[in-house]
């Protein structure tokens, strides 16, 4: 199983060095070859399991509860401005 590591890294928002890409490609291919064994299993009509204890539609009352203040919320950020997270410009290279 060949895997386009550069393309996948781009989708995953990861920057890989050439050396990393060369190392990962065979390792990822080996795992993908291994998981192919699932094709042996007949799953026609089998319903997928995503919630394993069978809970459905868990609701709560829509009432505000104590939460972080704006000041607290930004304490983990390396850069913040006026109590807001500061990010790079999206449309320009600023």
């Amino acid at each position: 199983m060949k895997i386009d590591v550069a393309h996948i890294a781009k989708l995953a928002n990861l920057t890989l060095s050439l050396k990393e890409a060369e190392k990962f490609a065979p390792q990822l291919s080996e795992v993908l070859d291994y998981v192919k064994k699932l094709t042996e299993v007949d799953t026609k009509g089998v319903i997928e399991t995503s919630q394993v204890t069978g809970l459905e539609n868990v609701y709560r009352e829509d009432v505000p509860a104590p939460s972080l203040t704006q000041e607290e919320a930004v304490t983990g950020a390396t850069t913040h401005h006026n109590g807001m997270f500061q990010v790079k410009g999206i449309f320009a290279d600023e």
């Binding site: 995953a12 928002n13 920057t15 390792q27 795992v31 997928e48 394993v52 204890t53």
Partner: protein
């Protein structure tokens, strides 16, 4: 006997009868951490002052006659548990400077119950691994032989328990990250039923599989710990409105009349023959105590790792997408190799055109694995009460042995991933030693059967108290 060699149950008794104080106990563990952890590397952060302040508070509550299971008991937290004001790293460079603004639910419950937090323990970064070697900081050593791995991903927590550096420690189990290292370190490790313990404020690995559990020296201690952490949490919608039973009530009832299933698919080529023999000896002990052994079949077992490495990596890629260095932590260039591999595998299996072939297929086979267990436990179908298997096909391995071959590392979890896929609880208890290295026994039960698992674990320990065999540090 030194106070650090106590169990939670024993310490509880001494605290309640005022023979020791929580401050004394806490200081004892802090001293031991100083003495031994430079070599073992079980802790990433030790909070000496905080611990002593908490111990002081606990002593006041004890003086007022309060008695709750963990009041004044010194514990450690896997560094995936978010702690207000205490650095929380997930053992990853991405979060090496992250100081959370809040406590996760389990941390909050432990604090409210008066447990004393000694520090945060090492693990594979983001809980990705089976040996502890994927820690972005440094690997934890097996206290029984420092040339060997303690198992992972929760590597520091069981090491801290086994080396008497705390009385209990939390862990997370997504594919075996509690049960495998418990077996490698001569400790008791509980992976509760999915949803029994809240995941809120525990750094997410794979959300449909993550179970929040803990390590202790005995099954009784594990039961006491769960009585504090279990229960409904409005902040985690997967925790059901299901009453938390008194886990100690029937723990001494024994195994007489219980039916123990022994799945033939777990006694296969690749299982160390010495582990096979030791597991059979353990089963023999339970049989002599009155349990009935029944050979059963869990036919889809061989597909579990393949299902797991699709479902888990898919969910990992999604959960780790949030770490971009904007709100906290460093940017994505700080991820280690294993996190990068899993993010890419997950991204690949979820990418356009591959979803049905990988993710959907895996979720379907997951259903079949779950049904294998449902059938095995079905009372209407002459089912068994619990299932017993080894917790690992091999003994602990030497550092470096599996690091160049990720698939080989992944296959270490072959006996544990099934319980995560089915959402059932599992308890690992010490099964003895082979060549001086610990070996574990895994007890599995139906959803929300933790009480029964403790009962079986306790019955075995009452005859084979391997936890009393301490490592020579």
């Amino acid at each position: 006997m030194s106070i650090t060699a106590l169990t939670i149950e024993e310490a509880r008794n001494l605290l309640d009868t005022k023979q020791i104080s929580s401050v004394e106990l806490t200081q004892g563990f802090l001293d031991r951490i100083k003495k031994y952890d430079e070599n073992l590397k079980a802790f990433l952060t030790v909070v000496e002052d905080t611990a002593l302040t908490m111990a002081n508070k606990a002593d006041k509550r004890l003086k007022n006659g309060e008695t709750t299971p963990l009041l004044g008991i010194p514990i450690a937290l896997k560094d995936l548990f978010v702690t207000q004001g205490i650095r929380t790293t997930a053992a990853s460079r991405v979060l090496e400077n992250y100081v959370p603004q809040y406590d996760g639910t389990v941390v909050r419950r432990l604090k409210d119950a008066g447990a004393v937090i000694l520090g945060k323990t090492n693990c594979d970064a983001w809980a990705h691994g089976s040996s502890g070697e994927n820690s972005d900081f440094e690997p934890t050593k097996n206290p029984y032989n420092p040339a060997y791995v303690p198992g992972g991903s929760s590597s520091g927590s069981p090491t801290a328990v086994a080396a008497d550096m705390c009385l209990g420690a939390t862990g997370t189990d997504t594919g075996g990250s509690i049960r495998l290292p418990a077996g490698f370190t001569n400790t008791v490790g509980l992976k509760p039923t999915y949803g029994r313990v809240s995941r809120y404020g525990v750094i997410a690995m794979a959300s449909s599989l993550d179970s929040i559990g803990h390590f202790t020296k005995t099954s009784s201690d594990s039961a006491m710990f769960l009585s504090v952490t279990a229960g409904k949490d409005p902040r985690d919608a997967t925790t059901p409105e299901k009453a938390v039973p008194d886990y100690l009530k029937d723990i001494q009832k024994g195994v007489k009349g219980l039916k123990i299933g022994v799945p033939k698919e777990y006694f296969i080529k690749g299982l160390d023959s010495r582990i096979k023999i030791q597991t059979e000896q353990a089963l023999g002990i339970l049989e002599r105590q009155g349990a009935k052994l029944v050979e059963i079949s869990l036919p889809h077992t061989e597909y579990a790792i393949a299902v797991y490495y699709i479902v888990q990596t898919a969910e990992v890629s999604s959960n780790l997408a949030r770490y971009d260095g904007t709100r906290f932590g460093h940017d994505r260039s700080h991820f280690g190799d294993e996190a990068k591999r899993r993010i890419m595998l997950g991204t690949y299996v979820l990418s356009a055109g591959y979803y049905d072939a990988y993710y959907k297929k895996a979720m379907q086979v997951r259903t079949l694995i779950k049904q294998d267990f449902e059938k095995a436990f079905d009372p209407a179908d002459n089912g068994v009460d619990v299932i017993i298997t080894p917790s690992s096909p091999t003994l602990p391995w030497k550092f470096g042995e599996k690091m160049a071959d990720p698939l080989k590392m992944y296959l270490s979890d072959i006996f544990t991933v099934t319980a995560n896929l089915a959402g059932i609880p599992g308890l690992t208890v010490p099964a003895g030693f082979i060549d001086g290295l610990p070996n574990g026994l895994q007890i599995l039960g139906p959803h929300f059967s933790e009480e029964l698992l403790f009962r079986v674990g306790h019955a075995f320990e009452s005859e084979k108290a391997y936890w009393t065999e301490k490592p020579a540090l």
